[in-house]
């Protein structure tokens, strides 16, 4: 685990010994990330055992897996948003723009989160402050230099960002409270909050799971559009293969806290190599394809996958990894 001194984020220093990315190095490089979380008075669980991934500028990757695979925890770890419980332990390396973030002081994380990394959460109702107006909540995300006027409702920067996120009648909207909006609108507000800081990377954690199917498509389209327009990198975390398939260049499949397969999205989905990916695709296809009977991963197969992945009995707490 390396701890480099934090660099000033305004200088986009080229990464050294970079990966196979372009000349400026990957925007994000995660190596051997491991996260352990407390689940009881004396119990811990290894939510993430060993994850390595990489995101270049403008690239879109997806992280897929079932619940419990550790994909959400990975996303949060990258944004530094794990619970502030002292029993949470993180190991490995997370380099954002060549700056090592594991072990970095809180101020460094604050700077990264206010400029470079934005996060879109799952359930827009609970993730918006119920007693604060929409406009104010969006404005907090905008850099103080780019704000104008005293009133969030009249700040053109706020209104612009709301429109970018696909909302209409934004002047009135900015004065409203979250409970007055529909689910789709609230999710767009979360998108607006994320893009308002003009980030280099957006992490979207199950951004449409809490929405109706029709609204899902619209919101995804909006996300797609805004990410393209701003040329932001995207990490899309979802258990829904269809969502990830349509929006990402590369994909990482997670199971049991590890990445079991990765590659270009189209490749992985057409020719899965890992047993788990194959099983996953098979069960998904059985859902959508009328000619195939419903199929879910049977216990014996699951045990086989567990053995492949090297997943120990969860009752023990791994002390290192």
């Amino acid at each position: 685990m390396t701890t480099a001194t934090p660099t000033v984020p305004d200088e986009r220093v080229a990464a050294d010994a970079g990966g196979p990315g372009g000349s400026s190095g990957p925007l994000l490089r995660v190596s051997d990330l491991a996260v352990s979380l407390p689940t009881g008075p004396r119990r811990d669980i290894q939510a993430v055992r060993s994850v390595s991934l990489q995101v270049d500028r403008g690239e879109r990757i997806g992280i897929v897996g079932e619940s419990g695979s550790g994909k959400s925890v990975t996303g949060r770890a990258i944004a530094g948003l794990l619970p502030p419980n002292p029993r949470v332990r993180v190991a490995g390396s997370i380099r954002i723009d060549a700056q090592e973030m594991i072990g970095a002081p809180a101020k460094a994380w604050e700077r990264i989160r206010s400029h470079a990394v934005g996060m879109i959460f799952q359930d827009p109702l609970t993730f918006l402050n119920p007693v604060m107006k929409i406009g104010s909540q969006v404005r907090e995300s905008i850099h103080p230099d780019r704000r104008s006027g005293r009133n969030a409702g009249k700040d053109p920067a706020v209104l612009e960002v709301l429109e970018l996120a696909g909302l209409t009648d934004v002047a009135a909207l900015a004065q409203r409270f979250p409970h007055e909006l529909s689910g789709g609108m609230r999710q767009r507000v979360l998108i607006a909050i994320a893009i308002a800081k003009r980030p280099d990377l957006i992490i979207a954690d199950e951004p449409t799971t809490a929405l109706d199917a029709t609204v899902q498509r619209h919101v995804l389209a909006t996300l797609d559009e805004t990410v393209s327009r701003m040329d932001t990198s995207l990490i899309l975390i979802s258990h829904d293969l269809a969502v990830v398939a349509s929006m990402t260049d590369r994909i990482y499949v997670m199971y049991g806290g590890r990445v079991v397969e990765s590659g270009a999205t189209g490749d992985v989905l057409k020719n899965p190599r890992h047993l788990y990916t194959q099983s996953l695709l098979r069960s998904v296809r059985s859902l959508t394809d009328e000619h195939t009977p419903l199929w879910s991963i049977p216990p014996e197969l699951r045990r086989e996958i567990d053995a492949l992945v090297g997943r120990p009995d969860d009752k023990e707490a791994d002390s290192d990894s």
């Binding site: 407390p38 689940t39 008075p41 619970p83 949470v88 119920p130 409970h179």
Partner: protein
């Protein structure tokens, strides 16, 4: 103690969050008892409480007559009179211990009566709903509006002041609060799946209530009961401090009342009875808190 609940829109409950309350996780009763009784605070305060109760029960048999005025008056605490003597020359230790009997008796009786009534009324109201429910809510509101102490004072003044009446009056002022908790639990449990299936299987409502609803409603009710004991002891001592009480069996509060003229001259007279009230109530409150923590586990939960 992180609780991951978000209030659903439109149902903002104006009832403040009780300390430690969170999403209920079904817990093994054995593990609860084990973690509960092993906690240091439980062992400490539990012991204190048991000691106080024992002292009040057995103590009076061992010490002298609390009414005998044969001793020298106004003696500060000494070896002969561990708590001194009062203005009439009575052994204060004996008086305090006897006072404990009354205070504790009233406290526990009120709680017992209160909880019994609350379980019945609250359980029926929450489970069946309807008229009984509405009546309970209205009665609850009434007792919230008129402060309990005031009502108790008026009732006691008009109806007389022996121990039985005081117990009844205090129980009457306190039961709606507990009944509300029982009702909320009953309503919650009545909606659970297995209750519905029991109904479908033909079990009578009362039987379901007795065998399933009540046992599952117990955790918060138990906590509320301990708090009720503490509040009852405080309420009774308040009443007797104001002069409402059985003159022949002075409780701690009554002793404090009688000690008022002497705070400048005989410091032990107002000190000890009040100290006893404080210790007992503190022990009960601590036990109640520990009970609450044991029954509503909420460690740093992670999403």
């Amino acid at each position: 103690m992180t609780v991951q609940t978000a209030p659903p829109v439109g149902t903002i409950a104006p009832i403040p969050a009780a300390p430690g309350r969170g999403p209920r996780k079904p817990r093994n009763p054995d593990s609860i008892s084990r973690t509960f009784f092993r906690k240091p605070s439980v062992m400490f305060y539990g012991t204190i409480l048991i000691l106080m109760v024992l002292a009040s029960l057995i103590g009076p048999l061992l010490t002298g007559d609390p009414f005998s005025t044969s001793h020298p008056r106004f003696q500060p605490p000494s070896l002969e009179f561990p708590l001194g003597t009062d203005n009439l020359g009575r052994d204060y230790l004996a008086r305090v211990l006897n006072g404990g009997r009354v205070s504790l008796l009233v406290g526990f009786s009120v709680a017992a009566l209160c909880v019994t009534v609350a379980l019945i009324v609250g359980g029926l109201a929450g489970f069946y709903g309807g008229v009984l429910d509405i009546v309970l809510v209205k009665v609850s509101e009434f007792f919230q509006v008129i402060p309990g102490l005031v009502l108790a004072l008026v009732a006691a003044a008009l109806l007389g002041a022996n121990i039985t009446i005081i117990v009844i009056i205090l129980a009457v002022t306190m039961w709606p609060g507990v009944a509300r908790i029982v009702r909320a639990e009953a309503m919650r449990i009545a909606q659970l799946g297995y209750v519905e299936s029991q109904r479908a299987a033909g079990f009578s409502g009362l039987r379901i209530l007795w065998s399933d609803v009540v046992p599952n409603a117990l955790p918060p009710v138990l906590v509320a009961t301990t708090m009720t004991v503490a509040r009852a002891i405080l309420a009774e001592s308040g009443l007797s401090f104001l002069g409402i009480g059985d003159a022949n069996q002075p409780s701690w509060g009554a002793l404090l009342n009688q000690a008022q003229p002497y705070i400048a001259t005989a410091w032990w007279l107002p000190l000890f009875p009040g100290l006893c009230i404080f210790i007992v109530v503190l022990a009960i409150n601590m036990l109640g808190d520990a009970l609450n923590d044991a029954l509503n586990p909420s460690i740093g939960k992670v999403k």
